[in-house]
């Protein structure tokens, strides 16, 4: 469409304005991470980066959280990474076969199974957190990676998306496979999963972000300081009771904490869009 001529600047101007608004909070966090606490409290703070950027980031990386969480940022980021990977991979691994079963087979109670999974779609863990904790404790899962991850793996998003995609796989493909004598398992492994690559990648992005950003459940279910995640670590840096918040350090750590999900998002963005949107067509 109209990419030239008069008025061609309007789209760019609108987009730039939108971009400025959307990125403003992140930019302010960046500026705050380069100032001293006094600069910030002497409101309103400046919008030009200050001289303490490296000092603040170095402190955030080296010692910023040692006092409050007893852990360095690197360790907590590693914990978050493990949790996010396990949740993302776990969800995908259990969702692929269940979507496959629901789409390619007819068996008793199929609808019921589908609904049972589907209902879990929306209810967040915060709402059922106390009974869930009880269950995890009964199963001796407190303070284990299994306890951290399994209750969050129960979700229908992935199953639903795979199901929609599987419905678009041409019948001819399955016919051909059947004629070749391929069983349902081989068809699944050699045809369906490779075809789902894009969707898997897209879901991985969403689920990784979901996993990385968890707060309440990890707080409740882990007891060892060695399992603290970065989101908890940041929350602990913000004075809740009678303690002062070191805002520049908090902002530096927060920027570090959003880096991994952002990197995942950016590197996989191509598949993210394609995988999420194509099954919708």
């Amino acid at each position: 469409m109209a990419g030239s001529g008069r008025g061609a600047w309007i789209p760019h101007a609108t987009l730039l304005a939108g971009l400025a608004l959307v990125l403003f909070p992140i930019y302010v966090a960046f500026v705050a991470s380069s100032l001293s606490l006094g600069d910030i409290l002497a409101a309103p703070m400046t919008l030009a980066p200050g001289p303490h950027l490296f000092a603040n980031f170095r402190e955030a990386l080296v010692s910023g959280t040692l006092g409050t969480s007893g852990q360095g940022v690197a360790r907590m980021m590693a914990n978050s990474l493990v949790m996010a990977m396990l949740i993302a991979i776990g969800k995908i691994v259990i969702s692929l076969p269940s979507a496959y079963a629901v789409v390619f087979f007819r068996f008793p109670l199929r609808r019921l199974c589908f609904w049972a999974i589907f209902v879990t779609l929306m209810l967040p863990v915060e709402v059922r957190i106390i009974p869930t904790y009880k269950v995890a404790a009964d199963l001796k899962l407190i303070d284990t990676h299994a306890g951290l991850v399994l209750p969050l793996v129960a979700s229908a998003t992935a199953t639903l998306l795979f199901r929609q995609f599987f419905l678009t796989i041409p019948d001819e493909l399955a016919e051909a496979a059947k004629l070749d004598g391929a069983g349902p398992w081989r068809f699944f492994i050699w045809i369906v999963i490779p075809l789902s690559r894009t969707n898997i990648a897209a879901l991985f992005v969403i689920l990784f972000i979901y996993g990385w950003n968890q707060y309440l459940w990890p707080l409740l279910v882990t007891d060892s300081p060695g399992m603290t995640t970065i989101v908890i670590g940041i929350r602990q840096m913000i004075g809740t009771g009678d303690a002062q918040t070191a805002w520049p350090l908090v902002m530096a750590t927060a920027l570090l904490a959003i880096l991994p999900p952002v990197v995942v998002m950016l590197t996989m963005q191509r598949w993210f869009v394609a995988g999420l949107i194509e099954p919708e067509k």
């Binding site: 606490l37 006094g38 409290l41 002497a42 409101a43 006092g67 409050t68 969480s69 007893g70 106390i130 904790y133 009880k134 995890a136 404790a137 009964d138 407190i142 707080l219 409740l220 007891d223 060892s224 300081p225 603290t228 908890i232 929350r235 602990q236 840096m237 913000i238 004075g239 809740t240 009771g241 009678d242 303690a243 002062q244 918040t245 070191a246």
Partner: protein, 438 residues
């Protein structure tokens, strides 16, 4: 905190590492709600204790805010797990006390573990709060504070006020706040922990009942009584002052402290434990003084009450773990450590010995404002209105009070209606609590 000093005193108190070197130390879980600088203090104490002996290992675990920590401890207890030591804020005290069978009383813990323990070593104002009616101490006070006033001397000067004369009474407070506003200060004064400073402390300080039954000490059938004319008049004055910002509400808990550190407000009423924050953050000179009172209220000023948190020991642990907890509590009660904690954090010294040692060290002579909280809390022998509060569901009651005060300050309700509503809703929660524990 200097680890060396603590380690040395620990050795003096009599820990022996002999014979335990080979065995794996017994882990003692300590769940706490301390953030920022205070979290660092907690970790430091644990490290010092662990370095001073090798039989036990204190493992401090952050469990969120005070409310989240309490809930995590309760959820864990229900599931048959949970920490050995749980830090509970003062408003959770009634809930913990009602949970007989779920907690191991501190007096019994110390006796069974054979650790020396004398409740009279602690400041009476502190002990009273955490003891049963017959004087048995159920939890160990850890971080205790009370409400005081801080004022910004630079802003006082700017407004042409004497920087060394803070207000003594409420009428003076409002007058000074108005002068600060006239001089262009954005906010005269503010108050953190709004329910705690403006209703709970206010009632004790004016010798008024916050609730019936000696503020709940005499039984769970206590009901709220803070909608009396003195309190209503006070809240109405705050609401009137909010209009021109000579008083400016800044949030339910510690948020308003930011308004003071930044130089926005000339005065603040908040926890004595905020001292460290202001010391580190403020770019101006400030002083501390006692809470103001209304001179026309008979008996005022009485004494202020305690805030902060104490350490509860959970039931169902092994004797070995209890032994470790007891040793740790002895370690915590050392005079040197308490004195250091008091000086570093602004929390109160909880033992008489630590208070005396601080006095003798000349600390108060150098920092006169730091003795204010203790003097204010121990000014007069407590009456039944000023021992503290022992009310169930107090966490929610505080939120209800804050909600109604917000409506009053925003001009949506008048003070009488707001406080009546808070009493009505709060009493429903008290009745609920009573029904649950009986």
């Amino acid at each position: 905190m200097k680890p060396v000093i603590l380690a040395a005193t620990a050795a003096a108190v009599g820990f022996s590492a002999i014979g335990a070197a080979s065995a794996e130390p017994t882990a003692v879980q300590w769940w706490h709600a301390m953030t920022a600088a205070n979290a660092a203090v907690v970790n430091q104490i644990a490290d010092d204790f662990n370095a001073a002996q090798s039989e036990y290992k204190i493992v401090p675990v952050f469990k969120g805010t005070y409310a989240e920590t309490m809930n995590a401890g309760i959820a864990a207890y229900r599931a048959g797990k949970g920490p050995d030591i749980l830090q509970i804020f003062e408003v959770g005290t009634a809930t913990m006390m009602a949970a007989r069978g779920a907690v191991m009383p501190v007096y019994r813990l110390m006796k069974e573990a054979g650790e020396a323990f004398d409740r009279n070593a602690y400041l009476p104002a502190v002990t009273g709060y955490y003891s049963t009616a017959d004087g048995k101490m159920l939890s160990l006070p850890f971080n205790s504070s009370t409400a005081i006033v801080y004022w910004n001397k630079d802003l006082f000067k700017k407004a042409g006020l004497d920087p060394d004369r803070p207000p003594k009474t409420w009428p003076e407070t409002f007058a000074i706040a108005a002068k600060l506003r006239t001089a262009g200060v954005p906010c005269g004064f503010t108050a953190a922990w709004i329910s705690w400073t403006q209703l709970e402390q206010f009632s004790a300080w004016h010798n008024l009942p916050f609730a019936s039954k000696a503020d709940g000490f005499d039984g769970p059938d206590a009901r709220l009584e803070f909608n009396n004319p003195t309190v209503v008049r006070h809240i109405a004055k705050l609401a009137a002052a909010e209009k021109d910002r000579s008083f400016d509400y800044g949030g339910r808990t510690s948020e308003p402290e930011g308004k003071f550190v930044s130089g926005e407000c000339g005065m603040i009423q908040t926890s004595s434990a905020a001292y460290g924050i202001f010391k580190n953050g403020a770019k101006f000179e400030f002083g501390t003084t006692e809470l103001p009172y209304y001179p026309d209220v008979p008996g005022a000023p009485q004494n202020s009450i305690i805030g902060g948190a104490s350490l509860w020991v959970m039931a169902g642990k092994t004797p070995l773990e209890y032994k470790g907890v007891a040793k740790f509590f002895t370690f915590l009660s050392q005079t040197a450590l308490q004195q250091k904690l008091h000086e570093v954090t602004g929390y109160l010294p909880i033992t008489k010995a630590a208070y005396d040692a601080t006095k003798e060290s000349g600390f108060y002579a150098k920092h006169p404002g730091r003795e204010i909280p203790i003097l204010q809390m121990t000014a007069k022998p407590p009456t039944e209105n000023s021992r503290g509060l022992r009310l169930g569901n107090l966490v929610q009651i505080r939120d209800i009070i804050a909600q109604d005060l917000e409506a009053v300050f925003a001009g949506k309700e008048d003070a009488q209606a707001g406080l009546d509503d808070a009493v009505k809703r709060g009493n429903a929660l008290l009745a609920q609590f009573q029904a649950k524990i009986q």
